[in-house]
């Protein structure tokens, strides 16, 4: 099979080596060229680092930021301050503190300090900005970019103001830029493949589902924002040590548009995309600029000056890519995930890991087996319409409680209240004796509450295995352990083979089972399942019943089961609670409930009775 997302040692190596090789080739071309070509290639490599920095945040979070070049500006000025010769510093930046002027650092240490400064700045700026909504972040980061420009352009005594700085030591060579670019690739991939990186990608794929498995969206975005800021700072620092001059507009609108174009054209979701986008666009840009200045084509036809040609050309390339290849040149994949590379045998996916027996049920085992999930007096109205009316519920670990009732009875709303997605108007919810009202869904997941949704809400672009592993990572498990837990749960559901594919490619029923596996991977003590059997046929339902029957003992967790299919509810549940119109109308054994005339009337329908009798 091809197109698999199952990362193996071999495909990971390909994903790492291919971009490094591209950087090495680019550097070699530059190092052996004319001094002007050397300069061009060095500038391209510095820019590449900034594009990788952008990728770390934008690609993994799926949220656009237009402020990252502000961190490049910060890094560039810090690096310039630390290396300016004293005589020039006195002239250009009289307001700088002495310890900075006297630092006279080398290129390596000044770059490292620039990275630390930009990274810290990104954390400080990100603390408020990352709290804003997914739609507000692009705008608020853009505002940050403008603020940075205004500060450096007007703080004359320190930054040299709008005229900028000159005579900064030009120490960045093709080789050093290439080494830093390689390091940036390694760092970006290590982050993307870390548990934290996966958690952030999960928020990109589906924010609601990510919260349900304990992922703090703001926290993960902040981590990537900081790392991205540091990488952009490195790019800025190296660039200023290449050109030797710096002004407030060096990394402003123009650079923001160019680097964003590079990322989008290459494919924002992968580091590989960032690398090929940066190199390809820079190359095209250089060629167009050559024509712009009136070069001759193939030595035969000479073209006059064509101002603005490069900008127009880049715009057209961006437009064409967004229409024809929405995922960018890389399709958003790392090199090792490319189908043709896998076909060549360079990146053959290995068989999925064997389920490790050790991982089974471990998360639940170390918790005391007492307490319960309780709700009392829950009432809730939407726009005057009463959805829940004084509802009580108790779920013990180790039991399976059925929750049935007509469509619109309030079952899903009750699950939303229990899992923290919806605050009730009145009533209490407690988890193992501790008040749970007001706790976020992510926090409740950490406290042992797992849930699934009526629609499967998979993380479509992650493999099935990664979908489930992220559940364990949401709880803080490392990558290796999370993958072992995921393989174990998927093995029990007979889904391991399918789990090699991206979740989007799986049939609807399998996506639903994936959701159950993902909720189990957090090691919950209470699992709330919202119609887990919808979209499964009879045989698959029977398989699901057999699996769910073992969940309380194998995973040490109780199940609240919303389901319309009585052939699932009846054999699994020890108790069944019936909701109708926001009220509990009956709690009892499956047999008692099935025989209750009120339940038959409002929910099961008379044809059900006829079928049971037959």
């Amino acid at each position: 099979m091809s197109g698999e997302r199952f990362r193996t040692r071999q495909s990971a190596a390909a994903s790492l080596l291919v971009p490094l090789l591209l950087i090495a080739i680019t550097a070699l071309i530059g190092a052996n060229g004319t001094p002007s070509l050397q300069d061009t290639v060095t500038a391209i490599l510095c820019n590449l680092i900034i594009v990788i920095g952008l990728q770390v945040y934008v690609g993994n979070s799926g949220v656009y930021s237009f402020g990252q070049l502000g961190f490049a500006t910060a890094g560039a000025y810090v690096a310039a301050f630390l290396t300016l010769p004293a005589a020039f510093a006195l002239l250009q930046t009289p307001g700088l503190p002495h310890f900075v002027v006297d630092a006279h650092l080398g290129s390596l240490s000044s770059t490292l300090i620039a990275a630390a400064f930009s990274g810290l700045l990104a954390i400080v700026v990100g603390l408020p900005l990352m709290r804003t909504s997914t739609l507000a972040i692009p705008i608020s980061t853009f505002a940050f970019l403008i603020v940075v420009y205004d500060v450096v352009a007007n703080w004359d005594r320190v930054t040299g103001g709008s005229s900028g700085l000159v005579s900064i030591p030009a120490t960045t060579s093709v080789e050093s830029a290439a080494l830093w670019a390689g390091a940036a690739v390694i760092l970006a991939l290590a982050y993307k493949w870390s548990a934290s990186g996966y958690r952030l990608q999960a928020t990109r794929e589906d924010e609601v589902a990510a919260r349900s498995i304990g992922v703090g969206v703001m926290r993960e975005r902040l981590i990537a924002f900081g790392l991205s800021g540091a990488l952009c700072g490195i790019g800025g620092a190296l660039a200023v040590h290449q050109s030797g001059v710096l002004n407030p507009a060096t990394f402003y609108f123009g650079a923001t548009v160019t680097t964003m174009t590079m990322l989008v054209v290459g494919g924002a979701r992968s580091v590989f995309g960032a690398v090929i986008g940066a190199i390809a666009i820079a190359t095209v840009n250089e060629l167009l600029r050559g024509v712009e200045n009136g070069a001759s084509l193939l030595g035969a036809i000479s073209i006059g000056e064509a101002p603005g040609l490069a900008a127009i050309g880049l715009g057209l390339i961006l437009l064409a890519t967004m229409i024809a290849m929405p995922g960018g040149l890389s399709g958003g994949r790392e090199a090792g995930e490319l189908t043709w590379l896998q076909r060549l045998g360079l990146s053959a996916p290995a068989p999925p890991p064997r389920p490790g027996a050790a991982a089974a049920g471990e998360p639940a085992a170390d918790r005391p087996a007492r307490g319960a999930l309780r709700a009392e007096g829950i009432s809730l109205a939407f726009a005057g319409l009463r959805v829940l009316n004084d509802v009580e519920l108790r779920l013990d670990p180790g039991e399976v409680l059925g929750l049935i009732g007509p469509n619109g009875a309030g079952k899903t709303t009750l699950v939303n209240v229990l899992s923290g997605f919806q605050a009730p108007d009145s009533g209490t919810v407690s988890l193992d004796g501790v008040d749970a009202i007001g706790r976020s869904p992510a926090r409740l997941a950490h406290d042992g509450l797992g849930r699934t949704f009526q629609t499967a809400l998979p993380f479509p672009d992650l493999s099935g295995l990664e979908n489930v592993a992220v559940g364990a990572m949401g709880m803080g498990a490392g990558r290796r352990r999370a993958l072992a837990i995921a393989a174990d749960v998927l093995g029990r559901l007979d889904l391991l083979e399918q789990a090699r594919l991206p979740a989007a490619a799986l049939p609807a029923g399998s996506q639903r089972l994936l959701g159950i596996a993902r909720a189990l991977a957090i090691g919950p003590r209470y699992l709330l399942l919202d119609e887990p059997a919808a979209g499964l046929n009879e045989a698959e339902c029977a398989q699901l019943v057999a699996f769910l029957r073992k969940v309380p003992s194998d995973f040490g967790c109780g199940i609240l089961l919303i389901e319309h299919d009585m052939s699932i509810v009846m054999p699994l549940c020890s108790r069944v609670q019936v909701l109708d119109d926001g009220r509990t109308i009956r709690i009892g054994t499956p047999q008692e409930v099935q025989a209750d005339p009120a339940v038959v009337e409002s929910y099961l329908g008379s044809s059900f009775l006829a079928a049971v009798d037959a």
């Binding site: 469509n407 594919l501 490619a505 049939p507 399998s510 499964l536 319309h564 409002s602 059900f608």
Partner: protein, 233 residues
């Protein structure tokens, strides 16, 4: 009326439907059943233009649909009631229906007739669609599709997520439509109910048609059903 010839569907290089033939005649009710991943939804999606088959031919009343946009196909008279209903949630019931009727002459009269058939929708006409219960939403989705005066009604799991009693209501309604001669293509999980309801059924598994036959034929052919569906139909 609807004709599929050797239709193949692939996702990212992986073929999931391996050459399926299917035909639906005027006034016929045809069902597709089969386990998860059999390719039922992929086939429906390629009929409605939501997915482009990698090869093969889809024709509706002798017009080739392959390569047409979903909205063009809908205008030809092929209406999909999608899985999960996909109603316009923040609009009212009446607005949903108005969108289904488009801007044609006689739309008002047809809306009136539809509301008579779905009395619950008349009752809820001014409410936001997402305030309806699941069964009511399903009725709205079917009503919206009918208002476009489709020649062929394509239903993807109309009973999904519905209470047992509500499934009976929906099937009663589909039964009435069948009596009126509406042509239907139906995908369902519940094999017994589907075989019972449809004139003819296709049993699919792993992207191939494994059996095909009328109600009587399939009910006699228990071995085939058990082999591909696994349950006891």
């Amino acid at each position: 009326m609807l004709e599929l010839r050797d239709v193949r569907v692939s996702y990212g290089g992986i073929e999931v439907v391996h050459g399926v033939d299917l035909s639906v005649g005027r006034g016929e009710v045809v069902g597709m059943i089969g386990p998860n991943g059999a390719g039922k939804s992929s086939i429906l999606r390629s009929i409605c233009g939501l997915l482009r088959p990698s090869s093969g031919r889809v024709a509706f009343e002798d017009r080739v649909l392959t390569g047409m946009a979903p909205e063009q196909i809908a205008r030809l008279g092929l209406a999909l009631v999608p899985e999960g209903r996909h109603i316009f949630k923040t609009l009212t019931v009446a607005e949903n229906l108005r969108l289904g009727a488009r801007q044609e002459t006689g739309a008002g009269e047809r809306t009136e007739r539809t509301l008579t058939r779905f009395p619950i929708l008349r009752e809820r006409a001014g409410q936001r669609a997402d305030r309806l219960s699941g069964g009511e939403q399903q009725q709205l989705a079917i009503a919206r599709a009918l208002l476009g005066r489709p020649k062929l009604l394509v239903l993807d799991e109309p009973s999904l997520g519905l209470a047992p009693k509500m499934i009976d209501v929906i099937y009663e309604l589909l039964g009435e439509l069948r009596e009126e001669g509406v042509t239907m293509l139906l995908v369902e999980q519940n094999a017994a109910r589907t075989i019972d309801f449809c004139d003819r059924c296709l049993v699919l598994s792993t992207g191939r048609v494994r059996a095909e036959g009328s109600r009587g034929e399939l009910q006699r052919d228990h071995d085939v059903l058990r082999a591909y569906l696994g349950g006891q139909p």
